[in-house]
Each structure stands twice: as structure tokens, then as C-alpha cells.
């Protein structure tokens, strides 16, 4: 039997083996994580911890494990981003407006993971309605990066990333619209997969931008991500975009040779990068070559154009999706003299600054008369980006480039130049627009903070990405994640914002 607090050091695959071999129980494992959640509460990774429910689920898992039964994730404690609806458990999307919302239905993904035996530790923090890349835009306060609590963990799935990296979850669920799984994974030294659009069900996940949203798994290793993803990839008739495509056994691709695979390297200007990132990129290119891959240059669209296109299409979709939050059927209602007055006050008080920025921008670009100049043009550019990716991916198995242009920034207030934060998405946006899968793999340390490299591949061929990522991760030895560090002295960062 392992000492109790050492259990959080095990990765998901090791913990699953330990549970199956009865070296420890799910209750012991879950309790070790709940203890970490108490110790590291100051990082603010969770909005709603669910200790009672977690122990209840763990007990049920132990019964199954005792009888050598149970699903693929039986007894494994996970964190769930708080934009996945969970029946009977408060789901806020980190918005003041939904601070008392309790869904009466379950998202398809969390439902399936529960059926597979997962134990849910609680609901993790995020940028409000997943709008952001830093997790500072949360009505429940910003999340701290466990590598350096003065810095952001990335976003929008920042709570999931921080929980995983600080031993407060063994795996986590995120959602990725423009990079919200890959970027926080990179900033926290983790693996994060954005599946192909249509691979995983969006049903029950609060919509941000419907044509881009996709749930994704986050883990400490590629193998962990493959195990979580296995439980998430299936056809769901409740999501009209969910595709009926056979799901391979992802784990069987790990350890397979990558000899002969073709890797594309997109061309960027030298000045786009920190020299430390450029040298990390070169090192990984060389490593893949040594492993027998053929490395070739590929032509991708200008990333700046992709970013511009994204910041028209995404706010347009956000403004439409946010229209449902009127305070009538759910949410914190503010009283008003008239119906319009009620809507305006409810939304004025309920939404944070970044969500308001996006709604206003989105409505502007959709104005009759303007939409042709903005929205229709952006749709054309998106089409062209897809064509570019298609051409490139006809020539190569995957492409390799950095996940982020730099390390995790310091936590700052919300009233700063929004473009600064938007530029942080520059390398993750294009794969989202092209509807192709992407995975971020920990690849190095700069100024004491982790960074990731991104592999993007052909639609619905996540197994190849996992196969490559599994080899790539072996090229890097990062300092260990702060899974057992004492965070009891860390105080939650307070930003000037009306708190929920």
C-alpha cells in the first residue's frame, strides 16, 4: 500500500492499474485528491468542489472493482470544467448570471464518463462562458498557475489545467474553441487534445461559438489523454454535428513506430518568436528526424489573417449564443419596469467585461449592411484556411509548431488592451478554424515555466497524433509537476470585479 499522499503522484494509467490490482481503493485515491483540493484551495482551480458526491461515487466504484467489474475509468477522480452541465450540481460557466443555476440534465460526455466509472471531484474554474485565454475573466476570481501563483494558468480551461498540475485531479475535461484546451495545457506542463470538430459531443456544454466548440481531454501524459479520449469519442444523436465514424482503440497506437511518417513544418517569420521557442522547435524537429520521420516544409495561411478571421466569426457566434441569457427562465434576474429594462439590467449586471466586449463586437459585425464586409468575408477566409490545411495535410501526416508565442503571463486586471490577450491565441486558432485536431505536448522550460509544442493532423485521425505525441513527449524531461507542493500559504488573487 502506498502512503496516502503519494497516491497523487501516480498518473492516470498507473492509478488505474493500482485500482485494478487492489493496491488501494478508489475511496483512498479520491480522498488523497480531496485533501489536495483543501491544501491548494488558494489557487482557485475549483468553483464548486463536490467532496460528498465524489466519495459516494468512489464507494460505488470500489464495490465494482472488488468484483473485478467496472468501466474503463472506474474509480478515477477527475475535474470537470464548469461549462459542462451536470444534473443536480450547480453549473455556472464562471458567470455571475448563472451563479445559482442547477441543470436538470447531464452533458453527454460527463454522462458517458460516469457510466465508465469516473469519479467527479468538482467543477473547475474557467473564463466566463469560455471567453478568454487567461482565466482572469471569471466571476469567481482568477486561477493561479501552480508553477508560479503570480501567473495565469492559461484559459479558458485554466481551472482544469491548474487542478491537474497541482495534484487536485488525475485527469480533466476542458473545451476548446480557439485553443482553450491546448494553450492552458502548454502553460501548465500538461498534454491537451482538441479533437476534430464533430468527434466528441457538444450536447450539454454551454455554447460559446457553435461552429468551433469542441470538448477535449487534459492529462499529465499522452497515455492518460488517450484513455480519457477513448471514453469521449463516439457518435451522439443529440448533437447534430456529431459524426458517425468508427472509434479506434487509441491506446493501441501508443508505442508504435513513427518511422517513415511525414512531418510538415510551417514557415513563420523569425521575429514571431522568442529565440528560446525557436530553438525548442528546432530541437523537436531534429528529434523527430532522428526517430525516422521525414521533415518537410509546408505552406500554411498567414496566422495573423486566421486570427483576424477568428475575432470576427467567434464574437458573432458569441453574441447569438449569449442572447438566451435573459434572466427569465434561469439565471440571476434583476427586476425592471419593462421586459426590455429587465433584460438590460440582468445582462448588464450578470455578464463580465470580456463577455460584453464580445457581444458588442459580435453584434456590430452582424449589423445589416456591415455583415457583408465583416462576417461574409471572414467566412470566405475560413474556407480558404481549410483549403490550405487540406492541401498541406495531403502531403504530410501531421504538422509541428509551438502552441503559444510565449510563457504564461502575469495575472493582470481585465481592463487592459484586449488585443494583447487575443494574440496569445495566434498559433491555436488556425487548427480550430480548419476543423482539424491538435494536441499540445510539454516540450521545454523557459524562465522556469513550461511550454508546449503542437501537433495538428488530418480530420478524425487523432490516433496518429497520439502516436506521434507519445514519441515526442519522451524527448523532454520537465521538472516534476508540483503535485505535492504545499500551497496552503497561497491566497486567491483578488481582481477589482463584482464577485459572484
Amino acid at each position: 500500500m502506498n502512503p496516502k499522499n503519494d497516491l497523487v503522484k501516480l498518473d492516470l494509467w498507473e492509478a488505474r492499474e493500482g485500482l485494478r490490482k487492489k493496491h488501494f481503493s478508489s475511496q483512498e485515491l479520491t480522498q488523497a485528491y480531496l485533501d489536495r483540493m483543501t491544501n491548494a484551495a488558494g489557487l482557485n482551480a475549483y468553483i464548486t468542489p463536490c467532496p460528498q458526491q465524489a466519495i459516494h461515487q468512489a464507494k460505488a466504484s470500489d464495490q465494482k472493482l472488488k468484483a473485478n467489474q467496472g468501466g474503463s475509468l472506474e474509480g478515477i477522480p477527475l475535474g470537470v470544467k464548469d461549462n459542462f452541465c451536470t444534473q443536480g450540481i450547480r453549473t455556472t460557466a464562471a458567470s455571475r448570471l448563472l451563479s445559482n443555476f442547477v441543470p436538470h440534465y447531464e452533458s453527454t460526455i460527463t454522462q458517458r464518463m460516469k457510466e465508465d466509472g469516473a469519479v467527479f471531484l468538482g467543477k473547475t474554474n474557467l473564463d466566463e462562458f469560455a471567453c478568454g485565454g487567461s482565466n482572469i475573466h471569471s466571476a469567481f476570481g482568477p486561477v493561479s498557475n501552480p508553477w508560479d501563483p503570480k501567473r495565469v494558468p492559461g484559459g479558458s480551461s485554466g481551472g482544469s489545467a491548474a487542478a491537474l498540475a497541482s495534484g487536485q485531479a488525475l485527469g480533466a475535461l476542458g473545451s476548446d474553441t480557439g485553443g482553450s484546451v491546448r494553450q492552458p495545457a502548454a502553460f501548465c506542463g500538461l498534454v491537451g487534445l482538441r479533437p476534430t470538430y464533430g468527434r466528441c459531443s457538444r450536447f450539454g456544454i454551454m455554447s460559446m461559438a457553435c461552429s468551433l466548440d469542441q470538448p477535449g481531454p487534459m492529462g499529465r501524459t499522452v497515455r492518460d489523454v488517450a484513455l480519457l479520449f477513448q471514453s469521449m469519442a463516439f457518435h451522439d444523436p443529440k448533437d447534430s454535428q456529431s459524426r458517425q465514424i468508427e472509434t479506434p482503440l487509441y491506446e493501441s497506437y501508443l508505442g508504435k513506430s513513427i518511422r517513415g511518417m511525414k512531418i510538415g513544418i510551417p514557415h513563420f517569420k523569425e521575429e514571431d518568436f522568442d529565440p528560446a521557442i525557436t530553438s525548442m522547435w528546432l530541437e523537436k524537429k531534429n528529434f523527430l528526424q532522428e526517430q525516422g520521420c521525414e521533415v518537410v516544409p509546408v505552406n500554411l495561411p498567414n496566422m495573423q489573417d486566421a486570427l483576424t478571421c477568428y475575432y470576427i466569426l467567434m464574437p458573432a457566434e458569441v453574441s447569438s449564443n449569449m442572447a438566451r441569457y435573459d434572466g427569465i427562465r434561469y439565471g440571476q434576474r434583476e427586476e425592471g419596469e419593462t421586459l426590455d429594462d429587465l433584460y438590460e439590467k440582468t445582462r448588464g449586471k450578470g455578464f463580465g467585461l470580456e463577455v460584453k466586449r464580445r457581444i458588442l463586437t459580435g453584434n456590430y459585425v452582424l449589423f445589416k449592411g456591415y455583415a457583408g464586409g465583416y462576417y461574409a468575408k471572414a467566412l470566405k477566409i475560413r474556407h480558404r484556411i481549410r483549403e490550405h490545411f487540406k492541401e498541406a495535410l495531403n502531403l504530410v501526416d501531421a504538422m509541428l509548431w509551438p502552441t503559444t508565442p510565449g510563457i504564461a503571463p502575469l495575472i493582470h486586471g481585465e481592463e487592459v488592451d484586449p488585443l494583447r490577450e487575443y494574440y496569445g491565441d495566434i498559433f491555436t486558432i488556425a487548427a480550430s478554424l480548419a476543423s482539424v485536431p491538435g494536441i499540445s505536448v510539454p516540450s521545454g522550460i523557459v524562465d522556469g515555466l513550461p511550454l508546449g509544442m503542437q501537433l495538428t493532423g488530418r480530420p478524425f485521425q487523432e490516433e496518429r497524433l497520439l502516436q506521434l505525441a507519445h514519441v515526442l513527449e519522451q524527448s523532454t524531461t520537465l521538472p516534476p509537476l508540483p503535485l505535492q507542493e504545499d500551497f496552503s500559504g497561497v491566497q486567491p488573487v483578488k481582481l477589482p470585479r463584482p464577485s459572484a
Binding site: 445559482n100 442547477v102 436538470h104 440534465y105 444523436p237 447534430s240 454535428q241 495561411p301 498567414n302 495573423q304 489573417d305 483576424t308 478571421c309 475575432y311 470576427i312 434572466g327 427569465i328 427562465r329 434561469y330 439565471g331 440571476q332 434576474r333 425592471g336 419596469e337 419593462t338 421586459l339 429594462d341 429587465l342 433584460y343 438590460e344 445582462r347 448588464g348 449586471k349 455578464f351 467585461l353 460584453k356 466586449r357 457581444i359 458588442l360 463586437t361 453584434n363 456590430y364 459585425v365 445589416k368 455583415a371 457583408g372 464586409g373 465583416y374 462576417y375 461574409a376 468575408k377 467566412l379 470566405k380 477566409i381 474556407h383 480558404r384 483549403e387 488592451d417 484586449p418 488585443l419
Partner: protein, 100 residues
Amino acid sequence: MVIHIEKLAKLSKIHLEAHEKEVLTKDVSTILTWVENLKDISGRKMCEETAPEVTEEDMFRSVEPTREDTPFLKETRQDILANSSAVEEGMFQVPLVLEK
């Protein structure tokens, strides 16, 4: 770029405090000025070559697959009303919309 923030907020049905109006006027203007480089992209013929023509009329028309329009959630009236802060006689309560 000139942004009529009050008009935009009214259409978005969001009440803004004076301080927010100031910040958001600046921010939205910055974002829109930045996305104006879309015109340069067209100039570089990035999108004109292969992209099909999309008009303002048809761009809102859905061409995406749709699912069968059959209910799959087993919701009761009580479930649906449970999250509303103002319910009366099994219905959502709203301010008067018709004059007495």
C-alpha cells in the same frame, strides 16, 4: 472608428454603467480597427480565388446537418421552472407587456 456604444448596447440588451461605456467604446473600437485588416486580406486575394460567393442573404441560412426534431429530454414542468427566480401558477413571471 466611431462606435455608437449606447445604440450597440441597446441592441445587445445590455445596460452599461458610465465607466463601462468609456472602457468598452475604446475596446470595441480597437478590436474593430484591428479586424479592418480583413480588407487587406481580400486585397491579397487570399479568399477570392477558391471560396464560393457568400451573400449577406444566404449566409444566415443553415447548410449544416440537422437532427430529427423530436424531443429526447424527459423534462417536467417543475424541472423547467426550477431555475427561474419568478414563477407564478406554474408559469414564468414577467413585467406587464400589455397596457391594462
